[in-house]
Amino acid sequence: MLSDKERTEIEEHSRHYPRKQAAVIEALKVVQSHRGYVSDENVKDIAEFLEMTPDEVDSVATFYNLIFRKPVGEHVILLCDSVSCWIMGYETIMDHLRAKLKIEPGQTTEDGKFTLLTIPCLGACDRAPAMMIDNDLHGNLTVQKIDEILKKYK
């Protein structure tokens, strides 16, 4: 079931469009912002709320890479793997994160704290390598900096 808050937020977005179904991407994001990811159940809830079928909602949800359809950790680390960051040494950062968190990209740490994902270009190429944790951007990454940053999310 969608919460009242979620409903209000989705309705707010729907108002910006001539048909409420146009707000389905926003609806998915609203749910994700509250719950971390969009469960199968949530897909059905959104479908009902927007008078769509689950098939229609999931067709859209699975198209966009930043709609998470599986549970994620408390914090999602999105490490840019695109060209500028790659040139600037993204691989070293990735190796470090893997070793430190003991997970591969796509996985969540055992304590459920972090999910590690790669993401194409964060638009921070002048600060490469870069990553985002939740809503915060971190640039000019070095191995040392990573340790500092991760501490903040303990």
Binding site: R19, D40, V43, M52, T53, P54, D55, E56, D58, S59, T62, F63
Partner: protein, 899 residues
């Protein structure tokens, strides 16, 4: 017409189509995947590439997708330019990178568009040497098999299912090279046209599951052109057999009737033909045992001989599911006055009424496919998805007709599906659904009106009156109803091509009359309205044209007169009239003779059962709901004991020198006799060339030239190859021998053309792609509306429906899966049929405590589970029609409920 140059040759073409369709219509080959004539162009597969040159001096040209290219005067293109040929080979190579190459175990193998295009494009050598991506498959229900790894992502399935057929439980998921076509979760596909996925999909992702259960390659099927017997629309089908069983039904293109598609009842509801309930030899009730026991053919004739010893009086009961020829043969045997249409009084009256309205005009009667072109639709009473399914598919297309005006105005070609959809948005043609129950077309309706049939008729009469005040007036409509009347009437008046749809399923004559009145009123206002009426069964109209007397009259006559024997043709009377009435009829006879292909309650009453061929083992003619006579042909020879009903009856007639008919052995004789007795039906003679017809001295083969195993198929039984059976009834042979070219359209039994092994070969059989078959679409109207008639208005306005205190007005509720007598033999159909229930308005249901109620039907108590609907009219109950678990009873009727 404009002139275009293709590889140096100049052609004169009509610029209405896209370039791909034009090229195909010219008979040239150009491979494609995502385009489909019924689905339009979206340009995704990039397979239909051609070179386009910008002017006389342009030597280089550029690659364009033919399906996305309008045809313009003077355009110069090349299909064979080496660069573009290379490009097409590269595209197919790319498509094949992830394909599993599992043709040997794929049901599509041998009739696969992907195979054809791979060959046509010239990709043979595989360079991709990495792992392929794989998918999981889904369970999609009893009809459709899913094998996603074969997918080439042409998006046709999702476009057909969603945009064309209106299904919303199927979609495309994910993105890039991981796109997946299926359902949100495993489950039965909800759309009634899902079976077409098997033909729309150019490869083996979606295949026919019923076929899979007794699979044989396309080239090993013996096939014949046939007509679907599962409702009154008469969709054209191809039935395929091997080893004496029907293996599958495919749609047979008819530009006037069903176009490219058929419904799932039509496609999958064939298994009764293979059922273990089939009667395959004559049966006589043993005097000692009291049971039906197998006898030989001679016994049948002897049985009759005994009866005929005393110049007997015979009472014959025909069937709306049997052919004109069979019904007429029975009529000849028993005499016209002793022949009765084998349907209930109300059903027969309504069918006769429908015919009368169609004939009288002045409304024109569109063909099924033409209804797609209506731009305003009013449905009166009929839940077409469940009573005449393919009509629902056509009307869904009609709902795009009006909004199509915008793209046309903006010079966006109508085949540019992507742009058309975007411009149309949620716009739909004015579309009104006036029915007692919810329908699957409600989603495209401008307005729905849920009420009792009489009230729908009243509203419709009021529409007629609004349009022309000379039409009878209706009093005491509510304000809302008056508003709706106005809305409907104004929309009909402002439309270019209004269409009124109604039918017999509400068992309400006023509905038909009101439909007629609306068309008559529109005609008065200088409109040219269309009317389309559905009737109960595949040959209801044909039967009604042969005889106006119904089953009630038969019973009366049987009880009042003295008869020696009752002969029933392909009919289970327990599905037509109440049980006690049927019993009364049977009790009146010493000899009950039943011609049928299946055991049922009626054959249980028979003293003699004559094994006859169902549609697949008979030739004959049906007349569909619009009055179109269509011929179906026997698929295979079932052996010596099973014969067409008309052949058995003919042998009895001639054997006894009855009625002065001397020559009645071949189909053509029966057609001749039919037309002699019913000059109105003379078109039946012209439906197809007769049995003597030959092309270059040859017959037309039912088997493909690749048919395999003929000499060995039965070697386990008999090593000597038997002489193949002869077909004396048609110009078709039962073998692979015969004329290998394209046959006249009534004899198309498979779509195949050199290089085109898939159903896409249909392009080659059409005059222009998407249009009529070469030589004309088969089928002829036996009557046409009198469009200049001045038929008067019907004047009887029914009383408004009044709910009663302790009685409920029962109407039948129809189900595509469940309501039909024969298709239910297919296990998948039975699986999807509802369990018996009682439909009640939500509020009404509150007066009953439990989930189940007792219904008093025809003096019997039945316990039924309650199903509620907020929109179902109060004071009424809906009872699913025709479920095997429920005996037929009288509709419409007042019933009592307790619980």
């Amino acid at each position: 017409m404009v002139k275009i140059t293709i590889d140096g040759n100049v052609y004169e073409v009509d610029p209405k189509d896209n370039l791909l369709q034009t090229i195909l219509s010219l008979g040239l080959d150009l491979p494609y995947f995502c385009w489909h004539p019924a689905l339009g162009s979206v340009g995704s597969c990039r397979q239909c590439a051609v070179k386009k040159y910008s002017g006389e001096d342009d030597q280089k040209g550029r690659i364009v997708m033919a399906c996305m290219e309008p045809v313009v005067d003077g355009m110069r293109i090349s299909v064979n330019d080496p660069e573009v040929k290379d490009f097409r080979a590269n595209i197919i190579e790319l498509l094949m990178t992830n394909h599993p190459h599992d043709c040997p175990v794929c049901d599509e193998g041998g009739e696969c568009h992907l195979q054809d295009v791979t060959l046509m494009s010239g990709h043979n050598y595989r360079q991709f040497d990495f792992n392929k991506r794989t998918h999981n498959n889904q369970y999609l229900g009893p009809f459709i098999n899913h094998e996603m790894n074969r997918c080439i992502q042409c998006y046709r399935c999702v476009r057909f299912y969603r945009e064309y057929a209106g299904g919303r439980d199927f979609n495309v998921f994910s993105s890039r090279n991981r796109v997946f076509f299926g359902r949100y979760e495993d489950g039965v596909l909800e759309n009634e046209f899902s079976g077409n996925l098997a033909e729309v999909c150019p490869t083996g992702v979606f295949t026919d599951k019923t076929y899979k259960q007794h699979f044989t390659r396309k080239w090993d099927l013996t096939t014949a052109p046939s007509i679907c017997h599962n409702c009154s629309l008469g969709c054209n089908i191809i039935a395929g057999e091997r080893y004496g069983t029907i293996r599958r039904i495919a749609s047979r293109y008819n530009g006037k009737v069903n176009g490219y598609f058929i419904c799932d009842r039509g496609r999958f509801g064939y298994e009764y033909v293979n059922s273990d309930q089939r009667i395959r030899e004559p049966l006589r009730r043993g005097q000692a045992s009291g049971r039906l026991e197998p006898v030989d053919r001679e016994t049948v004739f002897n049985y009759f001989k005994k009866i005929f010893d005393k110049k007997p009086r015979l009472l014959g009961i025909g069937s709306p599911k049997a052919s004109l020829e069979s019904n007429h043969a029975l009529q000849m045997l028993v005499g016209k006055e002793n022949f009765f249409a084998g349907v209930s009084a109300v059903e027969h009256q309504l069918t006769l009424k429908a015919i009368q309205i169609l004939k009288e005009g002045p409304a024109e009667v569109p063909s099924l496919r033409e209804t797609e072109k209506a731009d305003t639709v009013l449905i009166l009473g009929e839940d077409v998805t469940n009573t005449a399914p393919m009509l629902a598919l056509s009307l869904r297309q009609a709902s795009r007709q009006k909004p199509m005006e915008l793209p046309i105005k903006m010079n966006v070609p109508t085949w540019h599906e992507m742009a058309v959809l975007e411009l149309m948005q949620d716009e739909r043609s004015p579309f009104f659904v006036l029915t007692p129950t919810e329908t699957k077309l409600d989603d495209i309706a401008t307005a729905v009106y849920r009420n009792a049939p009489d009230n729908i008729a009243r509203l419709a009469h009021a529409v007629a009156h609004y349009i022309d005040s000379a039409a009878p007036e209706v009093e005491n409509l509510s304000e809302e109803e008056t508003e709706l009347v106005k809305q409907i009437a104004e929309n009909l008046l402002s439309s270019k091509q209004p269409l009124i749809v109604s039918g017999t399923s509400c068992l309400n004559e006023s509905l038909l009359e009101a439909a007629a009145n609306i068309t008559r009123a529109l005609k008065k206002r200088q409109k040219s309205p269309w009317i389309f009426l559905t009737v109960p069964e595949a040959n209801s109209v044909g039967l009604a044209l042969l005889d106006e007397k119904d089953l009630n009259q038969a019973i009366e006559k049987a009880l009042s007169d003295s008869y020696d024997a009752l002969i029933i043709l392909e009919n289970d009377l327990y599905r037509r009239i109440e049980e006690d009435k049927a019993n009364k009829l049977f009790d009146a006879f010493e000899h009950v003779i039943v011609l049928h292909y299946l055991h049922n309650s009626t054959t249980d009453k028979a003293n003699l059962v004559v094994p006859v061929g169902p549609f697949s083992e008979s030739d004959g003619t049906l007349v569909n709901n619009e009055g179109r006579a269509q011929r179906f042909y026997q698929v295979f020879y079932p052996g010596d004991s099973v014969k067409e009903s008309w052949r058995w009856l003919g042998q009895i007639i001639t054997g006894h020198g009855l009625n002065g008919r001397s020559e009645l052995s071949k189909l053509d004789d029966f057609i001749e006799a039919l037309v002699r007795d019913f000059p109105e039906l003379k078109a039946v003679k012209d439906l197809a060339p007769n049995a003597d017809f030959r092309i270059a001295g040859q017959k037309i083969p039912r088997q493909s030239h690749r048919y395999s195993g003929r000499t060995s198929m039965n070697a386990n039984v008999n090593v000597s190859e038997p002489k193949p059976p002869e077909d004396e009834d048609s110009p078709m042979s039962f073998t692979m021998e015969g004329y290998q070219g394209m046959p006249p359209s009534p004899f198309i039994s498979r779509f195949w053309y050199p290089g085109w092994n898939s159903v896409q070969a249909v392009n080659k059989f059409q005059i222009e792609v998407g249009g009529a078959l070469r030589g004309g679409d088969p089928g002829l109207r036996v009557f046409e509306p009198q469009t200049d008639s001045d038929a008067p208005y019907y004047t009887r306005i029914p009383e408004a429906f009044k709910p009663q205190k302790d009685q409920w007005f029962a109407i039948p509720v129809f189900h595509i899966f469940g309501s039909d007598e024969l298709s239910i033999y297919t296990p998948g159909v039975a699986e999807l049929a509802p369990k018996p229930y009682l439909l009640l308005n939500q509020k009404d249901a509150e007066s009953f405590s439990g989930e189940k109620v007792n219904v008093l039907l025809d003096g019997k108590q039945i316990e039924l589970t309650v199903k509620t609907s907020s929109s179902f009219p109060s004071g009424m109950v809906g009872i699913p029609f025709g479920l095997p678990e429920m005996k037929i009873f009288k509709f419409p009727n007042w019933v009592k409920i307790s619980g």
